[in-house]
Amino acid sequence: MILPRERLLELFQAYPRDRRYALPLLQDIQKQCGYLPKEHIIEAAGYLGVPLSRIYAMATYYRSFSLEPRGKYVIKVCDGTACHIKDSKNVLETLKGLLCVGVGGMDKDGLFSVETVNCLGACALAPVMMIGEEYFGKLTEESITEILEGFRKREAVVAGI
């Protein structure tokens, strides 16, 4: 989602025009838009007076930033050591089957996108994934299907269908 100009300027105005505020500013944009739209990165560089190449470098360095639009719910599949051994590959395969997207992709409804992370700190529950702020452990093909269904139902309720 691209922000209207006034909204973007509001975000900018929370910070002085200085290079050291680049990171929090990018975080705010990512929070508002779900990703870092190219035009906003360019405007942020202009506002802060920092070369665009530096802001771009920052935006591509941190894993928590995405330059591509992401789904409303970001599924973080753990591929840390414990989860890898407990067949996190299968979790990814299952998601791929259900959503038709691979790692880094977003499903066609814009509801889910899939990413991998290295250890979510819940190894005892391996294999683990996170959707938004919620953890889901000891995943199986069935439980993954159910979890996604749950989210879809929740969405339908929100949308009043």
């Binding site: 190219k38 190449s53 470098a57």
Partner: protein, 246 residues
């Protein structure tokens, strides 16, 4: 102050690096990521030397960033150092399938041969991520390129991998690159670099192309001294100014 480098007494300026002192005193230390006009990045580790303090303790340090101090004795070419350099060269050369430029010269000097049985090189990769090009462009005030991405995907690139508005086609980045990794072609009056094409300007005296139109425009914007005649290449300019007294 005086320091001992390979048994020779060398005069060192306070604050300079061991590498600078050594080179000023005609002692050669190999380096890839150091440039006398740019701040050191200290990532190639070819410039390693051994230093010995007053108590006889020895330490291996990167000479391009290690400041000189009165009390140290420096050894630039011990067996240990040569071994370290060979290892570093093997790793650097292993990263690039096509070893070129200064890196190739050092590999020959140190007898390092690329060996694919241990390491598989990144296909088509020539860059060893030393960062000199980035610092050069930054020092000139354009900052058109940066190190982007992370880990194994790390690359030098203009923003969004697209031709950068800030790039003036000066090719300073390509000139400082120790592995000739930056594609820079000059054909029929044009220079192509970082996906952007620039028109080249020919020197009014010798006719050699010596700068891009964008570069001269940029220079004009920077220069306070309007007397400097930008119609000539630096060589001819010097001659012309001597002859005309300007």
């Amino acid at each position: 102050m005086n320091i001992q480098i390979d048994g020779k007494t060398c005069i060192a300026e306070p604050g300079e690096s061991i590498l600078e002192t050594a080179r000023r005193n005609n002692i050669d230390i190999p380096s890839l990521c150091h440039h006398e006009a740019l701040p050191g990045l200290a990532c190639c580790r070819l410039c390693v030397v051994e230093i010995e303090d007053a108590t006889g303790n020895r330490l291996v340090v990167a000479s391009c960033v290690y400041p000189v101090a009165e009390s140290v004795t420096v050894y630039t070419n011990t067996e240990k150092i040569k071994k370290h350099r060979r290892t570093n060269l093997t790793l650097l050369a292993g990263h690039v399938p096509e070893v070129k430029g200064v890196l190739l010269a050092y590999c020959r000097e140190y007898g390092v041969i690329r060996d694919d049985s241990h390491m598989k090189a990144v296909v088509k990769e020539k860059c060893i991520l030393c960062g000199l090009c980035v610092t050069a462009c930054e020092a000139l005030g354009n900052s058109a390129i940066q190190m982007a991405m992370r880990g194994i995907d790390r690359v030098v690139a203009p923003p969004f991998n697209e031709p950068s508005l800030n790039c003036i086609g000066c090719a300073s980045c390509a000139r400082v690159c120790p592995t000739d990794a930056i594609d820079c072609e000059s054909v029929s009056g044009n220079r192509k670099i970082w996906g952007k094409t620039f028109s080249l300007v020919k020197c009014a005296a010798c006719g050699e192309p010596y700068a891009t139109v964008d570069e001269l425009d940029w220079l004009k914007g920077k220069l306070l001294d309007t007397e400097l005649n930008l119609a000539y290449c630096p060589n001819c300019r010097r001659r012309v100014s001597v002859n005309t007294g300007k």
